[in-house]
Amino acid sequence: MAMIFEAAAAQSAGQLPGSTEPGSGGNASQAIGRMWKAIRSNGKALAGAILLAIFTLLAIFPWAIAKDNPSAEIYKASLGPSTAHLFGTTSYGQDLFAQAVWGTRETLIIAVVSGVLSTFLSVIMGLAAGYLGGAWDSVLNFITDVLLVVPTFPLLIIIVAYLPKVGVPGLILVLVVTGYSYGARQLRAQTLSVRSRDYLEAARVRGERRFYVIMVEIIPSMTSLIVATFLGTAVYNVLAAAGLQFLGFGDPSSVSWGTMLYWAENNEALQTGQYLWAIVPGALIALLGAAFVLVNYAFDEISNPALARVPLSRGRRLNPVTNPISIYRRLSANRSS
């Protein structure tokens, strides 16, 4: 299902302009600063950002609120929720609250690391194909196109099944290889559209090297598209990793929300009345996914002027400073599509 969403999102994002006007002093840190300002002015984005911040804190300092060792089988099995065990215990006598809190780390690491790496791969493949052109473009674009149309989740399952035992690094690797294609395609299109712009011509005439042109002139102009790519991939990877772990791939002895669901399903938690065992990790996955989606959704509104909220004709007036349209105009005055 996520794939259908991806396909649909591919199309909506296809109209997303991702470039900032390089002439108006758009370097990456400024662009990010402006984005941050825009995020603060959008309720959805703010909610998503706060959720992400909470999850990050939980992932870094899980011991601050959960003292128990999440894997230790030291309590009475299948206890209901109580003050000592907020969510009760598993059939193995592990504390569910501790598992939920400590599980944040692995889930978030998978989402962020695979998101960053596959965005990185998208940038390399997309820019190389778009900027180098010719035979490079044909070959790289073909690889990307194939990975784009092959149904990702079945492919993921099959690759993981052939690998004897994958831990977190293996899982991340597979997610990166299967998940970069959509972003690469968009970045390639964007590169093609800016390739013949004057400021790049100017850089070439100045005698700058290709590497310099790509790193200093092209990439900063695509910051918003790159961020959007990261957010989209992160959501997908949260869901895909949870699904794989739920099926028992990955390391079943690790502590993450996906493996919690795997053990809950294997012990028939729903049928035996241990509802929280299945409900809590799923709800947390949904919350984390929702956090990324909220930021992404708001990001769409911020970076696409057509979607920016306009007041109803009889509605309230917008403060010109927080009006996303004006922020957007400064963020990216140059539309190519």
Partner: protein, 327 residues
């Protein structure tokens, strides 16, 4: 025309790449799991079946990789997909035939409903922008796309199945019935598919809404829509015939594509409900290391998607004259 020819070329190349990937994967993986598997089945399978698996997985042969590749291609071309290990002695094709209708029914119908509902909500949302429907439904369903569908399925099993006994939640039909085309059996199948269908709908509708709404908003700003307003046309006509008709293109080609993804099923949802479609079959094949079945399923899924993409291109070319001129 040239555009379509190029797409057909891509189709053939991608198909070849997927078939080759299917061929290479079991041969590239460390520690070749197939050897252990074959040892397990030695003596239980007929020599012919064993030979077919050996060819498919590339073990115990002294042939070169090239001749293995060609006999693999030959087997595929003659429709010999091998024998399933899980459901021995059934052939892979008959196992797939037994499951495909349930997936097509469940996921196919759900995809169509999600597309229609999502598109309608998107149209109305964009038309009454900022209204109550627009501020309520799109955000809710877009967040819905971040929820694991299989977890929604588990919640539905808990609430509507175990607690309230509203719907059955195990298998695609009552095991006491035998599959037939009687109304009683079809009704039973429908009853069994309601909960998984809800789980899929809730999580997939958001994508359609978002695409439709965002495209429609862009379309509504076009001059011809302003012109229609200026002419004083009834607003329903502007909404449907002027704006939505043009804005639906991305959703339509997305729909054509997702028809292909129907075959890949909803692996996790089918697994949670023990719904015996193709997705569940894939998980079963993995659990029992049934490589022939796995390879065949993956190939089937890929071919379905490729055909759907070709279809999506065709739809776009037919409906959108601009693509005919551009390429």
């Amino acid at each position: 025309m040239r555009f379509l020819l190029r797409r057909a070329g891509f189709f053939v190349l991608t198909l070849w790449a997927c078939i080759t990937l299917n061929f290479l994967l079991p041969r590239l993986m460390p520690g070749n799991p197939a050897i252990a598997l074959l040892a397990k089945f030695h003596g239980r399978l007929s020599p012919v079946a064993l030979k077919a698996i050996e060819i498919a997985l590339g073990v115990n042969t002294h042939e070169s990789l090239w001749s293995q590749y060609f006999s693999y291609l030959h087997n595929l071309a003659s429709g010999n997909l091998g024998v399933s290990i899980t459901f021995f002695p059934d052939s892979v094709s008959s196992v797939i035939r037994g499951a495909i209708l349930y997936t097509l029914g469940l996921v196919g119908v759900t995809t169509i409903i999600a597309f229609i509902l999502g598109t309608l909500i998107g149209i109305v949302g964009a038309w009454r922008r900022g209204g109550w429907l627009d501020s309520l439904l799109p955000p809710i369903f877009v967040i819905g796309t971040a929820i694991p569908p299989f977890w929604i399925g588990m919640l539905l099993i808990l609430v509507c199945g175990i607690k309230l006994h509203w719907f059955p939640y195990d298998f695609a039909y009552d095991p006491s019935l035998s599959p037939s085309l009687t109304p009683a059996f079809i009704g039973n199948v429908i009853e069994h598919s309601i909960l998984p269908a809800i789980a899929l709908l809730v999580t997939s509708i958001g994508g359609w809404i978002l695409t439709m709404r965002n495209t429609m908003i862009t379309t509504l700003a076009e001059d011809y829509v302003k012109m229609a307003r200026a002419k004083g046309l009834p607003s329903r006509r502007i909404m449907l015939d002027y704006a939505a008709r043009n804005a639906i293109l991305p959703n339509l080609s997305g729909f054509a594509m997702s028809i292909g993804f129907v075959v890949s099923g909803a692996v996790l949802v089918e697994y949670v409900f023990n719904y015996n479609g193709l997705g569940y079959l894939l998980v079963q094949a993995l659990d029992s290391e049934d490589y022939p079945l796995m390879q065949a399923l993956f190939l089937l899924i890929t071919v379905a998607v490729l055909i759907a993409i070709l279809l999506a291109d065709l739809v776009t070319v037919i409906l959108d004259p601009r693509t005919r001129a551009a390429r």
